[in-house]
């Protein structure tokens, strides 16, 4: 690990717990649907309501998604894991306990790798376990009373817990983005943060470098990357201020208020309940045979980091390019199509990470909505690579493709007259004419002023209406002046 960045002389230590809602059609222990946004209590069956006599039955689809996640990040998949009951009373918790995994989770260990700028980072995972979500208490709309919506009760969650490996809020956000990328890439979670499908809790503490870990405070339910960053930055500043003022940090759970940009304490450690965890006698241990794991593995899509390694090996891309291009499946697919069309992978990568991304970002578009197809980009790159057009002319063609002015690269080059001069005789005439007309510059160049040479090149390019190949111009001009 590189030297950590300090904030006012303090080292920041962050660990994450993320609740990823699994993309199953039905709930984790019942057959009720999981779709978001239905009328309250219309998607809660007898099991979700905890009616007397009901029992949980494990949704295998949720288990498969946990296995996929474990395989994606190099974890150990526990051959036998245990569901436990976390007992506490709350109106939106119908059974009076939440079924979760406590002592033996299904996914153990593993790591998430990503770039922070151009620095490669790796965050170790402690575990990922399956559990059910609770319902929702609705405190508005009911004068003097609270309403309960149990549609969400029993929704399958994978809680993903890291070691306290992150050393800045930027790193933590980059981790969260990478995790988000992985779960959506492999399709186990829709990643919709507004709807709560991907919620993060950040455990934040600060310490003097080399000191023992500080007392942490947990910021709950961060459901946007922007708030995540703001909340952690506020919390870090707040903790440092407290310590600088001589106050000790009390362990607490806090909430971030986006309106004030501040975190405020929900409950302190003293208030924390004794959850009386014990193995759920309604659910036998979750047994995962090696054959099940292998079947899931064989059906899995190519993972981002495997794909990135392949891009490095097959296309000779730098690791940074490969990682950037595998930020999403669509981006990676676009790159591969373009690279194969032009046989110039590095140029394709440059174009996608450069011009294409710039235009997409400016228009707030995803690559799926890019008006320039990878085949078009491929032909464009081919024409630059074979010297037909200059890079600058390429940008004009790209513009025309983007705006829909044309769709055929060669036709656009022809229509716009962007083809570079390949006839050296014609170019020589232009050069001779420019030399003749700019005796001053010629004299200055001969007197040792390099700038004068560039001025001559500029004149020649202008005279050729940009169609001259700059490299050829350089060579010929030097010969003639030499």
């Amino acid at each position: 690990m590189s030297t950590p960045k300090l904030v006012q002389g303090y080292e920041v230590v962050i660990g994450f717990e993320t609740h990823a809602q699994l993309s199953t059609q039905s709930k984790i222990f019942s057959r009720a649907p999981t779709a978001f946004g239905a009328e309250p209590n219309t998607q809660a069956c007898a099991v979700d309501l905890a009616l007397p006599g009901t029992l949980p039955v494990m949704n295998k689809g949720a288990v498969e998604r946990a296995i996929q996640f474990g395989l994606a990040i190099g974890s150990h998949i526990a051959p036998r894991s245990i569901f436990a009951r976390k007992n506490y009373f709350y109106p939106d918790l119908p059974k009076g306990y939440q079924i979760s995994q406590f002592e033996i989770p299904v996914v153990q260990g593993g790591s998430i790798e990503f770039f922070l700028g151009d620095e490669k980072k790796s965050v170790r995972l402690v575990r990922a376990h399956l559990e059910e979500d609770a319902g929702k208490s609705l405190h508005e709309d009911f004068i003097g009373q609270s309403g309960i919506d149990l549609n969400r009760a029993g929704t399958p969650l994978l809680e993903i817990v890291t070691e306290p490996d992150m050393r800045s809020s930027e790193e933590a956000v980059a981790y969260a983005k990478e995790l988000h990328k992985i779960v959506t890439w492999i399709g186990i979670c829709d990643g919709n943060m507004q709807e709560g499908s991907f919620r993060c809790d950040a455990n934040v503490s600060v310490r003097k470098p080399g000191g023992a870990l500080g007392t942490r405070r947990e910021i709950k339910n961060l459901n946007s990357f922007k708030f995540m960053q703001q909340a952690m930055d506020y919390e870090i500043r707040w903790q440092i201020e407290q310590l600088e003022d001589g106050h000790a940090i009390q362990q607490a759970t806090v909430l971030f208020d986006p309106d004030t940009g501040e975190t405020r304490s929900m409950r302190s450690k003293e208030d924390s309940a004794d959850y009386r965890y014990f193995p759920d006698p309604d659910l036998p241990p979750l047994v995962i045979a090696p054959e099940w794991i292998e079947r899931v593995r064989s059906e899995m899509t190519e993972l981002p980091r495997v794909m990135a390694a392949r891009f490095v090996a097959t296309y000779g891309l730098p690791e940074y390019d490969a990682t950037t291009l595998t930020q999403s499946k669509a981006m990676a697919a676009y790159f591969e199509a373009a690279a194969q069309a032009c046989k110039q992978p590095k140029l394709a990568s440059n174009w996608i990470m450069g011009e294409v991304s710039r235009r997409l970002n400016a228009g707030e578009l995803g690559i799926e909505a890019c008006p320039v197809s990878p085949m078009q980009l491929g032909s464009l790159i081919s024409r630059i690579a074979d010297g037909t057009i200059s890079n600058n002319a390429g940008k004009q063609v790209f513009d025309a493709l983007w705006t829909g002015e044309g769709s055929d690269v060669d036709a656009l080059i022809k229509d716009k007259g962007l083809k570079q001069m390949s006839d050296s005789g014609a170019l020589e005439k232009i050069i001779d004419a420019v030399i003749a007309a700019n005796a001053d510059n010629v004299a200055q160049f001969k007197a040792g002023k390099d700038k004068a040479f560039n001025a001559l090149v500029g004149q020649i390019m202008k005279a050729s209406q940009g169609k001259a190949n700059p490299q050829q111009v350089n060579e010929l001009l030097r010969q003639k002046l030499g």
Binding site: A46, L49, A50, L51, P52, G53, T54, L55, P56, V57, M58, R85, N87, F89, P91, P94, K95, G96, Y97, I148, D274, R276, Y277, F278, P281, D282, L283, P284
Partner: protein, 507 residues
């Protein structure tokens, strides 16, 4: 009423089913006969709910199915259900104020399988639900003195009375089931057994009851007391009837109960008539110690002599951790109960206190009002043993000993085929006698708890009469999935004796 129908209540399930099949009697006639008997014997306090309209509609449906030749094996035979099974058409109270008047939107799997529903794609046996019978609140108790529900004909909670002596308890928690069958108010009743709740009341009321291997009968729709122990079973007069009922009750229910075993339903009556010559009956010395009342001991010994006459061999064995089963059970069962009963919080269904100041006050008042003393006691014990800092010393330790108790049985079954002994240390005691002494009640469970903790099948077979001419049951415990053999052994005893045919006076 025809001559044939006036003694319908003396007929066994097997005989009633035969007459119904042969159309010698109709299901409607049968239902009416038993409903009238229930009404005539309300003083016993066995029944808590009837729905004559539904019962008669089911009887008519059974008659139609019988006429069409599409009827299930037990079509038209009436059956009472312990009020721990949820039912659509009858209240489902679990004997608790918490669920006073509660109706379930679905039937328990056991109710569907015995009745006219379809469970797991299997059509039911076609029985007619006669009504719901009383039980200890949430099946916690061994005297049926813990019910908070007013039985039919009563204005408030009242103890279920033992038909053999109205001043005595019927046993529990399936006390209403046992009393109803013994008094011939129903040919059969369902029961549940967590620590002996089928076997002990069967013994006290002189009927036959079997608890199958844990996982044989679906727990879906059984209001949970202790999930890892609760198991449904039939209570009837004979082993043959129990075999027929058990065959209908059991079978996989994997889509609704994760603890349901994936073993196919069986015909448990297939080997009833087999000879038991050479059967090795293990006699655990720990079941015949100081605490066993002499009258019970003499009755059990006499039944064992009968077995010897039938060619069985008595083999002395040891179940060394028998005594430990009491503390182990009274840690594990309350621990699970404390969590299972958390859903009764006044939020979604059941009782909610009328006046409260805030959420916590609502919880406190609701649960204080809704639960009876024994339930509260077990919730508190269970909460304590699961608490941080006590879990390892109590709950984990109890689980370890539970495994040892199961291992002891496996050791014993190397030397014998079935194990026999008393069901309870005494005959049924007087109402109120131990009502204020929970520990005395707990200690009386000593002989039924070991098989429950091990998940083994166990049954009670009428063995004779002890003090006060009260019935005494012989307990038979078998290895996993050996129900057919247990029922065979019980049936053979019943071919040689007539204790199961005797009936209490005045009914």
């Amino acid at each position: 009423m025809t001559q044939a129908s006036s003694d319908l209540h003396h007929l066994s399930v097997a005989e009633l089913a035969r007459r119904l099949r042969e159309r010698k009697v109709s299901a409607v006639e049968t239902a009416q006969h038993f409903l009238a008997r229930v009404r005539a014997h309300e003083a016993l306090g066995a029944f808590v709910d009837l729905n004559e309209e539904v019962t008669l509609a089911q009887a008519r449906a059974a008659d139609q199915a019988l006429a069409a030749g599409t009827a299930g094996a037990l079509a038209g035979v009436p059956m009472a259900h312990k009020d721990i099974f949820v039912t659509k058409d009858f209240v489902s109270t679990a004997g608790s104020r918490m669920l006073a008047g509660y109706h379930s939107p679905f039937d328990a799997t056991v109710v569907s399988r015995l009745g006219q529903g379809v469970a797991g794609g299997v059509p039911g046996a076609g029985m007619v639900t006669l009504g719901k019978v009383n039980c200890d609140e949430f099946a916690m108790g061994s005297a049926n003195e813990n019910s908070a529900v007013a039985p039919l004909g009563h204005s408030g909670p009242a103890p279920v009375r033992n038909p053999w002596d109205n001043s005595r308890i019927p046993g529990g928690s399936s006390g209403g089931s046992a009393a109803a069958v013994a008094a011939r108010l129903a040919p059969a009743a369902s029961g549940t057994d967590t620590g002996g709740s089928i076997r002990q009341p069967a013994s006290f009321c002189g009927i036959t009851g079997i608890k199958p291997t844990y996982g044989r009968a679906s727990r879906y729709g059984m209001i949970a007391y202790a999930s890892s122990l609760d198991q449904a079973g039939p209570m009837a007069r004979s082993a043959e009837d129990c075999a027929l009922l058990l065959s209908a009750m059991c079978g996989p229910d994997l889509d609704r109960d994760s603890t349901s075993l994936d073993v196919p339903a069986e015909d448990f009556a297939r080997s009833l008539k087999d000879s038991i010559s050479g059967l090795r009956i293990g006699i655990p010395k720990e079941f015949f110690g100081e605490g066993l009342a002499p009258d019970v001991r003499a009755t059990v010994d006499a039944a064992l002599k009968e077995y010897e006459k039938l060619g069985a061999k008595l083999i002395p064995i040891s179940l060394p951790r028998t005594e430990l089963s009491i503390p182990v059970y009274y840690i594990i069962a309350p621990a699970e109960a404390s969590s299972n009963l958390s859903r009764f919080d006044g939020v979604k269904f059941g009782h909610r206190a009328k006046d409260y100041t805030d959420l916590v006050d609502m919880y406190k008042k609701t649960r204080a009002q809704g639960f009876g003393d024994e339930v509260k006691r077990r919730i508190m014990i269970g909460t304590y043993v699961l608490s941080h800092g006590y879990y390892d010393a109590y709950y984990l330790q109890a689980q370890k000993i539970r495994r040892m108790i199961a291992d002891d049985f496996q050791q014993a079954f190397k030397a014998c085929d079935v194990i026999a002994g008393p069901v309870a240390p005494t005959v049924a005691w007087k109402i109120g006698e131990k009502a204020d002494d929970p520990v005395a009640n707990y200690l009386a469970d000593i002989f039924t708890l070991p098989a429950s903790l091990a998940g083994l099948p166990g049954m009670s077979v009428p063995a004779g009469f002890g003090a006060g001419n009260m019935p005494v049951g012989l307990q038979l415990i078998g290895n996993y999935f050996s129900e057919a053999r247990l029922l065979n052994a019980a049936h053979q005893l019943q071919q040689a004796t007539d204790f199961h045919l005797r009936q209490p006076e005045g009914i």
